[in-house]
């Protein structure tokens, strides 16, 4: 049991993610989390303003049950399968975080961004809103996110997915190395 409460190794986790994708394929489905965001838009009547949302989202309702499960999984893992051990990140990463005034002590996510108290700061709202917007816009523009391209697409040796993943890294590296010192 003890091994479950510890953070899981990259090897076990990576294998389980591939197995998850494999099981979905055997169920006749495709692994991709960001398509749910499109389904939300359609459910809210987005089809009235853009034909992009005018599709039969009920056909993809299986993916919404995956979402329900994913939320439950997060709850279960955080409350019942963890001792509260937090990500043990590299020391030089911790030093870089200090320069940005972000504490890396004893937290799964930075308190400066994801605690209720942080919401009293307008900047926190701006970061969360802009971050979310770029994720949603970019994922749909690129036709998939980490699950659809970096895992499913690359597993199927798709060149478009490789281009998308290169894009993910160009954007991510630019954000962390160029924009972070300006933002934080």
């Amino acid at each position: 049991m003890e091994i479950i409460y510890q953070p899981w190794s990259w090897f076990v986790s990576g294998f389980l993610i591939a197995l998850f994708m494999f099981l979905l394929l055997l169920l006749g489905k495709r692994f991709g989390m960001s398509s749910n965001l499109r389904a939300f838009c359609s459910m809210c009547g987005g089809g009235k303003v853009s034909s992009f949302f005018n599709y039969d989202w009920k056909k993809d309702s299986w993916n919404l049950f995956i979402v329900v499960g994913t939320i439950l999984g997060g709850y279960l893992a955080a409350h019942y399968l963890s001792h509260g051990a937090m990500p043990h990140i590299n020391e030089s990463t911790q030093l870089a975080l200090q320069d940005l005034n972000i504490s890396s002590e004893n937290a799964y996510l930075p308190n400066e961004l994801f605690s209720i108290a942080a919401l009293s700061n307008v900047k926190t709202w701006a970061i969360l809103i802009v971050g979310g917007f770029l994720i949603g816009f970019g994922a749909r523009y690129a036709g998939g996110c980490t699950s659809g391209h970096a895992i499913s697409g690359l597993s199927n040796l798709q060149l478009p997915s490789l281009i998308a993943v290169i894009g993910f890294f160009i954007g991510g590296l630019f954000m962390v190395h160029v924009l972070f010192p300006l933002i934080f």
């Binding site: 853009s50 999984g73 980490t146 160009i170």
Partner: protein, 137 residues
């Protein structure tokens, strides 16, 4: 019955994302600084086994549980949409420290501010839908 299978599969995925720390903002930041092997290990292992599983499906014509043939459509050929869309997604991934899967994991784990990220991501998807015909693909 099938609904329960999908919920259970999602649950396992959610637990893996949380326990592997792939849902942690810190791990994403560390990854983009190339200061740890952890995230590369997760994605790399998933890829190696993913390639093996898909090759098995193709070589042995493995069918779905319902007995249907599994055909995985190729992605449309293009550079623009994958590169530009990818860069925009990458900027958001690094800033919010979460991609769409982990967003749901973190909401379940009780990080309520992540709800703002989710709502905003739905909005971003919506705006893409509005601008789609005007963007290079």
């Amino acid at each position: 019955m099938k609904k329960i299978i999908y919920i259970l599969l999602g649950l396992i995925f959610g637990v893996v994302m949380y326990k592997s720390e792939a849902a942690s903002w810190f791990r994403i930041y560390e990854m983009f600084r190339f200061e740890s092997f952890h995230m590369y290990g997760i994605i790399g292992t998933a890829l190696v086994f993913g390639i093996i599983f898909i090759q098995l499906i193709k070589r042995f014509h493995i069918k779905t549980f319902d007995g249907q043939a599994i055909t995985i459509e190729d992605k449309d050929k293009s550079v623009y949409r994958y590169l530009f869309g990818g860069i925009i997604f990458g900027l958001g991934w690094a800033l919010a420290g979460a991609c769409p899967g982990p967003i749901f994991v973190l909401i379940g784990a009780g990080f309520l501010p992540v709800l703002i990220v989710l709502i905003s991501a739905v909005l971003g998807t919506f705006v893409y839908g509005l601008l789609r015909d005007k963007l290079p693909h």
